[in-house]
Each structure stands twice: as C-alpha cells, then as structure tokens.
C-alpha cells in the first residue's frame, strides 16, 4: 500500500494562523457552552435516557434497513411522491439533470445538505449548465468562495466579516459592507429573488420517516421552507441511513438534534414533508421526489461494529468537543466530513489506504462519544480503523522498522540486567534540569532518527533519577 503521510505543512499553516485558531476555538467553545445549557439535568432530566433511546432506535433502523427503506418507499408513492434509488453520486446527478431538462428548469435553490456536498452535486449540475444556488447563509458564503464547509453546522466558521465583505463585493458587485447584520440583508435580498424564481428546490434530509413516507428538515433561517414551498418541484437527496421507523420517534430525535448541534431546544423551523401538496392545500410543490443514495453505505453496513457510524444525525457536537478538530479545523480532513465522525467515516468510504494517518490523528480522549446524541462509540471505531491500517501496512511490509523496534524491545525485556542498563541510559538523556520541569522538545539522540517526527511535537516529563527497580530494591532491603 502506498502510504500517504499526514499533511503536516497544512497543519502547521492552520496552527500558525492565530486569527483562524481564535475563530475555531471560540466558535466551537460557544457551541459547547450552548449545548450544555440545554441538556443540564435541571432543564432536561431525561437527557441520558433520550440518548439511550435514540441510539437504540437508530440501531434498529440500521439493522432492519431494507424493511424500512421499502416501507418508506411505499408510503411516499402512496401519497403521490416518487422514490429514486441511486447507487452513487453519478446516478443522483444524472437523475437531477434529466429532471431539470424535463421540467425546463434553469434555476435550482438548495437547502444545506452534507449529502449533496458528499456527492459534489453543485459541480455536476453546473457542468450541465444548471445554476444551483445554496441558500443557507453559511453555505451561500462557502459557495461564493468556491470552498467547502468548514464545519457540519457552521459551514463558514473560518471566515470573518471582512472576508465576507470582500467576497460579497467581488462576487455580487455590492458596496463593501462589513456589518454582519447588513451582510445578512444583502444575502436575503439576493436569495429572495432566487427563491421566487426557482424551478426546483433541492434539500437533504435530517430524517426519513418510514411509517409516513416523510422527509424531515430542520433549519434556522427559513431557507429550508423556502426551497420546499415555492418551487414547483421538491427533490430531497438523502443517504439510505437517514431512516427512522416512526413519526412518533421524532419526539426523541428532535429533542436531541437541536440541543446537540447549536444548543437550541428546537431549531427554528422543523418541516415534516410527506409527499406533494394535496388537492385541498393552498400551496406547496406539486411534485415530490426522494433520492435514496447508497454511495458506499451498503458496504459499511456489512461490518457489525463499524455500521454504527451510520447512526450519525450530523449534529456536529463531536467536532466541537474534539481537541484535534479544535486545533486543525475542518479543511485539514481529507473529505467533506471532518472531526471524529469524519475520521471514522472517511476511511470507510474512501478506503483505508486513502489517508492511513487519519485514524491516528486522535487523542482517543473520548469526548466525542460522551456527547454523541446517538451514542456512537467513536473512539472504539477509531481504534478499529487503526488496527486495519496496521494490518494493511504489515501485509505490505511497510512497518519493518516498527517490527524491528518491537523485536529489540522484547529481547531486552527478557534480559533484566541489560534492560536496567538501558533504563539508566534513558534517564540520563531524559533527566531534565533536575527541577522537575517538563522537557520542551526531546534531547538528542531521541530528537533525531526514526522517532524525530513523534518527538519534535511533544514535551515529556523528566524521568525520575531512580527507577522503580532501584526503589524496590531499597525498600526490600529496608524491610528486611
């Protein structure tokens, strides 16, 4: 396996950008605080039971997914909607392009959706001369900047109001405006025209409800409602893992999603959409399509342990609480999904060989698992993926050095005298200045050679001057 290494230069660039560091740290910090304020035992005493239930429901949905997919499909079609099954990004894009031609549609407005980011839908559509406009303010900014989302729920987290001012001036031809409130007004004006003119509205789905044939969408800005109310056609693009069994289960999931994502007991707009408008309804789209996307998900299902990564409801809480995400930000991850959940799902979608360093970019502190509203055991999955990387590497013989190291170690461990001698040499090198302070950087010879990459970014505690074995001998002598 050709082993790519971590993009250290990019990491260093992010770490050296103090403005960006500040933005990531304060945004994630605020989201953490807000979440905490809405799940405290005095305001939500059954928080842990809700998590328990949400995880159990997701497990049942995933383990019986074929049943719920078919149930969902028959309920959508019974109400006049249509389900389109897509193996991959290509099929989804192809269907949309064909649909747009049929409907003679030019302009499409979009609700923020990680799934459409995953399949690069906007680029596909653009290649076919279709304009797909992102309508969530953050996504709109990201699209104008031709970038990708920095965070699952705060896509433009990395940009300041001054970046936005430059961007709006350059791409929208407006006067330079640096006040966020006025910037929002500009976006409102530009997008309002698009909403009213759009032929097709595209959304993702936060949940697909099997017993109702319904798509559930949550947004704060109202763009989700715009895109699913004004155009003639609504198309929802959703991964097959979005199924939940019953409408009543939303009482569990909705209580967790907003709180975990942004610290809101409920997001401002929650839309429960079951088919096209009915004969007696005053407005709404006349056509309703749901694209059920596989794109590698069925492969993930085959692994009994790792299939739990499909429980994810994309709240982003694991990103906010991850010490790694909080330093390296969202763009240093190899794919659209960042943070702990990205670390777990990217290798499973892209192949373990794509970024073998990724599962190792974790301190395994477990904060992600603690905040996950559906109780995905992220650290365990990260460890499993590490195991897979190591297995793949040793098959290729790439870790000869590591194996040599362990052979020397095991040889040494079986020779107590030599081991002690090595220990004494070690404590000489790592004794520090004797004041008990940590060693900044690691002294020669450890700072060179094969351990260099590891030691160059770590401080170590000084080794005590006397080893355990020495202390033990003294103690034994004393007690005798």
């Amino acid at each position: 396996m050709e082993m790519s290494t971590a993009p250290h230069a990019q990491f260093r660039e992010t770490l050296a950008d103090s403005g960006l560091q500040d933005a990531i740290y304060s945004a994630t910090g605020r989201l953490m605080e807000k979440r905490l304020a809405t799940i405290r035992p005095d305001v939500l005493p059954d928080y842990q039971e809700l998590r328990e239930r949400a995880g159990a429901l997701k497990k049942l949905a995933i383990e019986n997914l074929d049943y719920y997919l078919e149930q969902f499909e028959s309920n959508v079609e019974a109400r006049g909607g249509r389900v389109v099954w897509c193996r991959d990004a290509g099929e989804a894009a192809e269907f949309l392009v064909k649909l747009a031609r049929e409907k003679d549609a030019r302009l499409l407005t979009k609700v923020k959706s990680m799934t459409t980011e995953e399949i690069g839908l906007n680029e596909h559509l653009q290649q076919h001369g279709l304009e797909a406009v992102e309508s969530d303010l953050g996504e709109f900014i990201v699209q104008l900047a031709r970038s990708r989302p920095y965070h699952i729920v705060a896509p433009a987290l990395n940009l300041t109001r001054y970046d936005v001012a430059d961007l709006f001036t350059r791409t929208l031809g407006v006067e330079r405006e640096t006040v966020p409130e006025n910037q929002t007004k500009i976006a409102r004006r530009v997008l309002r025209e698009k909403f009213l003119a759009a032929d097709i509205g595209i959304s993702g789905a936060n949940f697909l409800v099997a017993d109702s044939g319904a798509v559930v969408l949550v947004t704060n800005e109202g763009n989700g409602r715009m895109c699913t109310t004004l155009p003639r056609v609504h198309v929802a693009v959703a991964g097959i893992e979005k199924l939940i069994p019953r409408a009543q289960d939303l009482a569990v999931f909705l209580k967790l999603l907003g709180r975990s994502a942004t610290g809101q007991p409920l997001t401002v707009y929650t839309s429960f959409l079951a088919g096209p408008r009915r004969a007696n309804e005053a407005d709404g789209p006349g056509e309703f399509y749901v694209l059920l996307l596989d794109n590698g998900r069925s492969r993930l299902l085959a692994d009994r342990e790792k299939r739990q990564s499909l429980y994810c409801i994309r709240c982003g809480a694991c990103l906010n609480h991850c010490p790694v995400y909080r330093k390296i930000g969202g763009h240093n991850y190899p794919w659209v999904y960042s943070g702990p959940i990205g670390t777990v799902i990217s290798p499973q979608f892209l192949g373990i060989a794509h970024d073998p360093w990724l599962p190792f970019a974790s301190s395994l502190c477990g904060a992600c698992a603690e905040v996950c509203p559906v109780k995905i055991d992220l650290p365990k999955l990260i460890l499993e993926l590490r195991g897979e990387v190591v297995k793949a590497q040793s098959r290729e013989g790439a870790s000869r050095l590591e194996r040599l190291g362990f052979r020397v170690w095991s040889w040494l461990m079986r020779r107590p005298k030599l081991y002690e001698l090595a220990g004494m040499m070690g404590s000489l090198v790592l004794s520090g200045s004797g004041d008990g302070k940590w060693l900044r950087g690691v002294p020669f010879p450890l700072s060179a050679g094969p351990l260099k990459a590891w030691t160059s970014v770590r401080d170590l505690p000084p080794l005590p001057s006397r080893s355990f074995r020495q202390m033990w001998r003294t103690r034994q002598a004393g007690s005798r």
Partner: protein
C-alpha cells in the same frame, strides 16, 4: 435496476432476506405531563420571549382583533383563510387581504406584504413553538414570506410539548403533506457566530393567544 441492486446489497450486508419482518420496536417514548393551562401559557410566553418573539394574551376575540390592528396599523397584510381569524374579525381589518384562492396572487401579495397573519394548529408550551398544518385554510407562504408573522389561536390549542403533539397527532402525514414547527423568528449565526434575526423567514414574530 438500482433499486434492486441497492436493496440486495443492504440485505446481503445485514444477512436479511426479502420480506423478512423487522425486529420489534419498543413502544414510542411519549410522556405527557399533567399541566394546567396557566402553566402552559406562562411556559409558552417565556420560551417564546427568550427567542425574541412577542407573546400577547388576548382576553377575547375582540381583544385579539384590536391587538392585531394596532400591530399592523393598516399596513399591507395577508391573512390566511383560517376560520378562527374570521371569527375574531381579523380577516376584515383595514389593509388585510384574505380569502385568496389564486396561488399566483397569493404569492405576489405575500412577497409584498408587511405582515402575514395565520392561525395555528397547536402551540407547544415548553419550546414556545407553533405547529402549522398546510391546508386550504392555511397556506405555507403566509407564515414565511412577509417580514412579520402574527399567529392568533385559541388557548385550547396549547399543548405541553412535542410528546403531546405526537400523542394527539401520531401520524401527521395522514393530516397534511406539510407540518411545520415554528420556534421563534428566523435566525442565523453564520457570520462570526453573531445572532441575526430575519434571514429568510420573518424576523419579527408575534403570537396572540385568545
């Protein structure tokens, strides 16, 4: 065909066969607290106001009408065809257009109006939410396009929260193609995490409970 291909892959991965029933589900987790109307109303009011919405308590349909009248001040407004708005006499207030049947006209008026006036299917006390069911009486656009949304409904519609909603309406899809919960004015924090109201939906939100 992609349908069979995807389903086959899913079944193979899960070790299931076509037509196999699913594992049994636990009873839905719905707990409706016993709460008197006064508590419901005060919970609703404080949740709504924490979000930047405005709560009005009207003593009678007439009181509701005069409150709405003082909010709109005769400026252009669109009212839904809800019977309750007619009963309160709100549909016939000066400046208010109501009884619209033509969708294109409805859209044009909503896009230009200063106020959208609706009733609501339910209120949810614990989160300060409205539950809107799309129907012939309630168009979706009225609570969406104008910069100010005013909702007027009788207090009997006040539920305790989500659990009661899904107990009373276990299957929303049987009632409507679109059930929307509205919890406060439209908002964003996408630029530097600064809270701004009224991005795409209404930035001002009044709830009048009669």
């Amino acid at each position: 065909m992609s349908r069979d291909h995807v389903l086959h892959k899913v079944r193979t991965a899960l070790g299931r066969s076509a037509g196999q029933p699913p594992a049994p589900l636990p009873e839905a987790r719905l707990a409706v607290p016993d709460m008197d109307m006064e508590t419901r109303l005060s919970q609703f009011a404080s949740a709504l106001e924490a979000l930047g919405g405005v709560f009005h308590r009207a003593s009678s349909p007439d009181d509701a009408r005069s409150r709405v009248a003082s909010l709109t001040g005769g400026r252009p407004a669109v009212a839904s065809n809800a019977a309750f708005l007619r009963e309160c006499g709100i549909s016939s207030l000066p400046g208010v257009r109501s009884g619209l049947e033509d969708e294109a006209e409805l859209r044009r008026l909503c896009a230009a109006a200063d106020f959208g006036i609706t009733s609501a299917g339910f209120g949810l006390a614990d989160t300060g939410s409205l539950v809107m069911f799309s129907s012939g009486e309630e168009a979706r656009m009225i609570s969406l396009l104008p910069p100010v949304h005013i909702a007027v409904f009788p207090r009997e519609k006040m539920l305790t929260g989500l659990d009661e909603l899904f107990t009373v309406v276990p299957s929303p899809a049987e009632v409507t193609s679109s059930m929307v919960l509205i919890t406060g004015p439209s908002r964003t924090a996408d630029i530097e995490q600064i809270l701004i109201r009224g991005v795409h939906g209404p930035g001002e939100f009044h709830v009048v409970v009669v």
